[in-house]
Amino acid sequence: MVSRDQTVEDNLQDLASVDKVIHEPARLSIVAHLYVVESADALFLLRQTGLTWGNLSSHMSKLEAAGYIEVDKEFVGRKPHTMLRLTRKGRTAFEDYRSRMKHLFDDIRGGKPT
């Protein structure tokens, strides 16, 4: 039988090990939107997330540095265009994050208030 203190401690450890890159709300929104599509450009993400260009650019740089998104340069007609997609590492990280958070909140829901 696992004690309530042990469960709380496990939860706190889970919380501490949550991926901080994805956990930030703006980045979570970016990753979630890229998760449900194949690829998208920055304007699409701007519209969907409601971020400013500056914020979006900053968060995308962090996600790119973490290896979670990759940038595809391509031409649409004669104009260069940048498309963004989640990498396999990014997809796995997002799935892992969802799983951890779900597990964490399921445990909290199961506990009783003191």
Binding site: E38, A40, F44, R47, W53
Partner: protein, 212 residues
């Protein structure tokens, strides 16, 4: 499960946003309007009439291609949806192709007199109407574009209007009214959506032209 549903909702909201520009509505309405206007070309051979039908499609395609390129994409950005959407879009295309083939086969069989119609029979009108309703229903379902459910019966009413108004308006204006009025209604709906879309999504300011 709830999380999946939430992600599905997010994807669906993004997908449906691309139909809020009214461009698809105007495209479909202009095709119907064009079919009505071609009835005014009464002179000439069948080839000339056929060319008229082809030319009637040009404004519709122009509005669609130019509208998506110069109005929608600069405002919403570009996105490639996942395999599930691609599969559903492919099925919608198949439904459209099947409908066109069905239409041509029926037309060919009637011309070749394989199907012999009684003088007062309304079989072509019923077949046309059923074909249009089934087609638009299938496309609405596969494309997740609910307005098409309403456009199906509206467009299907064309032949009914043509038949009902034949005696009253003659064989030119009944076609013009039968196809033109539903077409004009849908173009108008599309135009209203377009205006709302342009107001809701102005061109972005800042470094948005090439992605990051």
């Amino acid at each position: 499960m709830a999380e999946n549903m939430s992600l599905d909702r997010m994807e669906r909201r993004a997908w449906r946003l691309y139909f809020q520009d009214g461009v698809m509505d105007m495209f479909l309405g202009l095709i119907w309007l064009g079919l009505g206007l071609v009835s005014l070309v009464e002179t000439g051979t069948d080839v000339i009439r056929f060319m008229g039908y082809v030319l009637a499609l040009v404004p519709a395609y122009a509005v669609f291609v130019l509208g998506k390129r110069y109005i929608t994409t600069p405002r919403l950005g570009m996105v490639r949806f996942g395999a599930r959407r691609k599969s559903r879009t492919f099925r919608a295309t198949l439904a459209l192709a099947a409908s066109v083939v069905f239409g041509f086969v029926v037309m060919f069989l009637v011309i070749a007199k394989v199907i012999v119609l009684a003088s007062d029979a309304q079989i072509p009108a019923v077949a046309f109407g059923a074909n249009v309703i089934i087609l638009f229903g299938a496309m609405a379902y596969f494309l997740d574009f609910n307005r098409l459910y309403a456009y199906g019966p509206l467009f299907a009413s064309s032949i009914l209007i043509v038949e009902v108004t034949r005696g009253l308006l003659g064989t030119t204006f009944n076609v013009l009214i039968g196809f033109g009025v539903p077409g004009a209604i849908v173009v108008l709906i599309g135009a209203v959506y377009l205006v709302r879309f342009v107001r809701a999504y102005p061109l972005p300011r800042g470094d948005g032209s090439s992605g990051v």
